[in-house]
């Protein structure tokens, strides 16, 4: 149901060093740390201005904090939470100048949050690369109560804020960094299709 090409989603790629950039900001979470380490060592060859913002929060349990710190590739910040890393990214970009490139590696929710910050600084598609690693679980925005539901892996979810049964749509909002969740049993309360796990 509703599995389509999602045009509104960010484009994911494998991180590659952009030799045209002068300053390079890398941010990631969990298993994304491996991708950051790989691209950072390539960037280091031509640009000594590297800033890495990493969060150890991980679904898979992978932690690359030590490897990133030991690599001595530029300045490395480690955060225990996602919100901490996103705030760290915000502070970093506030001090950056034109000529900067941003590299993001992590879950879709993490990428979405990082891109919200990038958009606030008017970073364009040719200044940002994103690599999706780890979980495909969705952040779902309840269009009724405006609550966010993290780590949704099923076609339906009961909104953790207002309790409505939501259908998880493929409509992705970059502005909200979320998929839209829409009440599914408004006409006939309790009439629900079977729950399926779709986004692992």
């Amino acid at each position: 149901m509703l599995i389509t090409e999602i045009k509104s989603k960010p484009i994911y790629t494998t991180l590659k060093p952009d030799v045209r950039g002068r300053f390079h900001v890398l941010t990631g979470q969990g298993s994304g740390g491996d991708a950051l380490l790989s691209v950072a060592s390539q960037i280091w060859e031509f640009a000594p201005h590297l800033h890495i913002v990493y969060s150890t929060v991980s679904e898979s349990g992978e932690n690359h904090a030590r490897a990133l710190q030991d690599s001595k590739l530029g300045k490395v910040e480690i955060h225990a939470t996602i919100t901490g890393a996103i705030a760290g990214l915000e502070r970093t970009l506030a001090g950056c100048v034109m000529g900067t490139r941003l590299y993001v590696a992590g879950s879709e929710s993490f990428i979405g949050s990082a891109l919200q910050v990038a958009n606030a600084y008017n970073l364009s598609a040719d200044e940002v690369q994103c690599q999706h690693v780890g979980t495909s679980a969705r952040r779902v925005y309840c269009i009724h109560c405006r609550g966010y539901n993290e780590n949704v892996t099923t076609n339906m979810v009961q909104c953790r804020r207002c309790g409505r049964q939501l259908l998880v749509r493929d409509h992705y909002s970059k502005r909200l960094a979320s998929y839209m969740g829409l009440m599914i049993d408004a006409e006939v309360p309790g009439d629900l299709p079977p729950v399926e796990e779709l986004y692992r």
């Binding site: 045209r20 950039g21 002068r22 300053f23 970009l93 950056c96 100048v97 034109m98 000529g99 900067t100 490139r101 958009n119 600084y121 008017n122 970073l123 364009s124 598609a125 040719d126 200044e127």
Partner: protein, 320 residues
């Protein structure tokens, strides 16, 4: 695509702004308001030349918030195909002209956090319109304007009186030169640069920005080229089934129009892409003069922009 519709206008005022630039004010002949536009827009002015209509694009300098009058500025170009000389010598208050609807090929980025405007000579004109728009926003901007001498700086001096320190005028006759590296270095994320002026200036700004690591999406320019005079050649229009001769002093688009074929166009300066035409056959070389087609398209020999480009060949067949 339909032939661009035109608006009948009347010249209400002509003012000599600098030794080479005249400003013209245009209003609708029936007194109605003109179409809304945004800073960076241009209009194509249709002039009734002696042998044929001349169509030249000019940026709108007036405020997008005042639609009873459009203002354009025209620099006199002696060595050209006659449009600017016609405007300077023939057009007086009361002259009736036609203009195409305004088109914006040089818009301000709506999400920018800072704008840097760089102009040379008559290239100041699109920025005058843009600055009217910028006054209504909170995004900071700077203008850097190079002129040949103080007597050429009238437009910039008026802006400086209104906007103060954000307007910087560089007088070449006094040895003042812009330092693009200094202007573009250490700018906050989200800065956009816009250049309008001589080709060398546009290129140097873009090169400096790229050298400093700027991504292309933040580098903007506008340059209307005039169609160059070239060797005459013949073209066969496969769709209309007619043979057209392109004389030395007419562009391919103009020759097609003289032959009575309606071809799409908008900027007539090799920028917008509206006139793009497929080449079916060419036994020689296409002389691309546009800023629109990609390098790959140009070397493929399969596309041509008739408003500005020509061919050196015995037989050219176009899908038109």
């Amino acid at each position: 695509m339909r032939q661009a519709e035109t608006i009948p206008v009347k010249v209400t005022r002509v003012e000599q702004l600098t030794p080479l630039i005249k400003e013209f004010r245009l209003s609708r002949r029936n007194g109605d308001l003109l179409p809304a536009f945004s800073g960076g827009c241009h209009v194509v002015v249709v002039m009734p030349g002696a042998k044929r209509a001349i169509r030249n694009p000019y940026s709108l300098m007036s405020s997008p918030y005042e639609l009873d009058t459009y203002r354009i500025a025209v620099r006199r170009m002696e060595q050209s195909r006659g449009g600017s000389v016609f405007m300077h010598d023939q057009v007086k208050p009361g002259t009736e002209l036609d203009i195409a609807y305004p088109v914006n090929l040089f818009p301000l980025s709506k999400f920018a956090r800072q704008h840097i405007l760089i102009a040379g000579g008559v290239g100041i004109t699109p920025f005058v319109g843009m600055i009217h728009d910028l006054h209504h926003g909170a995004v900071p901007f700077e203008l850097h304007y190079a002129v040949a001498g103080r007597e050429h700086a009238t437009i910039g001096e008026k802006l400086k009186r209104e906007d103060g320190d954000v307007v910087n005028i560089y007088d070449a006759s006094a040895g003042e030169r812009m330092n693009f590296t200094k202007i573009l270095s250490d700018r906050p994320l989200g800065t956009h640069v816009y250049t309008c002026g001589p080709a060398g200036m546009i290129e140097e700004v873009a090169e400096t920005a790229r050298y400093l690591g700027w991504a292309d999406s933040h580098i903007h320019w506008e340059q209307f080229s005039a169609p160059p005079v070239g060797e005459p050649f013949d073209v066969y229009l496969a769709h209309s089934k007619i043979e057209v001769h392109v004389p030395a002093e007419l562009s391919l688009l103009e020759a097609i129009e003289v032959a009575g074929v309606n071809a799409p166009y908008q900027c007539r300066g090799g920028v917008c892409g509206t006139c793009e035409t497929d080449v079916i056959e060419c036994d020689g070389e296409i002389l691309h003069n546009d800023h629109y087609l990609s390098h790959e398209d140009k070397i493929s020999g399969k596309k041509i922009m008739p408003c500005i480009s020509r061919a050196r060949c015995r037989r050219l067949v176009l899908d038109r």
